[in-house]
Symmetry: C2
Amino acid sequence: MNIEVCYTPQAYPLFHNPNAIVVVIDILRATSAITTAFFNGVEKMIPVATVEEALEYKNKGYLVAAERNGEVVDGFDFGNSPFSYMNSKVKGKTIAITTTNGTQAIDAAKNAQQIIIGSFLNLDAIVEYLNSEKKDVLFLCAGWKNKFNLEDTLFAGAVVEKLVLIHECTTQCDSALAAMDLYKLAKHNLAEYLANSSHRNRLAKLDLERDINYCLTLNLCPVVPIMEGKFLVKA
Amino acid sequence: MNIEVCYTPQAYPLFHNPNAIVVVIDILRATSAITTAFFNGVEKMIPVATVEEALEYKNKGYLVAAERNGEVVDGFDFGNSPFSYMNSKVKGKTIAITTTNGTQAIDAAKNAQQIIIGSFLNLDAIVEYLNSEKKDVLFLCAGWKNKFNLEDTLFAGAVVEKLVLIHECTTQCDSALAAMDLYKLAKHNLAEYLANSSHRNRLAKLDLERDINYCLTLNLCPVVPIMEGKFLVKA
């Protein structure tokens, strides 16, 4: 079981492994929102890279989420606040979604054998899924506009730590080793550790403290969203 | 004084800052070798990206260093072992050099306002230089074939820590914060911390333990190599 961590979508082609399950990570907030949506009964999601594609789905009558730079794009139903999906009107629905970083990361990995969606909200479910599949794993952090970010790295580190400690995997990937060590430093208080981080500060300016604290909570939504063709569904 | 860390040459265009001094870092072993060369009396170096360019300089009668994948390229005078430069025959000479990662990083930053060469061997000299210049700083890690590596990141973290602690700089760059935290974990025994890292293992297979231990030693060569036109010279 080869384990690697890729810090940005830009670097994905260097890490592409046709045998790996790719875990896409955008903690603040796309993959936390997607995990929450499936836990709350959404049936399918359609991740798209551009606002134009999202608009096409809107014109076809779908519910559509569109976020850019932390805010809901004008004229769309949702952005990427997880709280939008705790709502009975999403149950059984198919929702198209485009976000600044998360859906770009899904798009970057489109040739992967399998893509699953990771967040602190489904940490243990992801660990168990990967452990049962026994395949190579590539963590793909969405980052912020192709720069490294801490919160996505910490989640990758959290899963790597569990795979190494509990399931006796090993890795010589430097970015996986760094992610694991950073998670060990941060895990006793993720919010405090991230207090100086770039994206947390970016969102704090938008008054999203409630979203941030929710996204840093472990195992609230034990589901594994997985790509099947152009759809995300529950595994 | 804005401080950022860029983990790979591939990502450099996202970080380019026309006002920043770029510190190029390739601890194992290009920037350690360059620092050692200047400390031992080399007058100028000419970093080139390709073996073909290096060969042109050889044909013109220059001493030429060429390394690929950790080994001296056939037909050249040196690779990138720092010990090659502890030799009276290099004194006062101009040496052209091409390496797997380090000279690619210098090439990636060629539009920077200023490029200097960092390694653990000149750590404090770099800190003092940056502190006296009081400009923005961008650390550019050479990595390994555009993947993140630990040893370059640790050196960036070492300088950031000193700038933050001693000189009261601040940063909200996530990769700078991560580098600093990783250095805090590693600094009491860099060699032990790096024992599982990818590149250290790659070099260990080539029997370069002596080079590795030398490259992880602090402040043996208090010089600051700086780019002037196509030449590296002593600042």
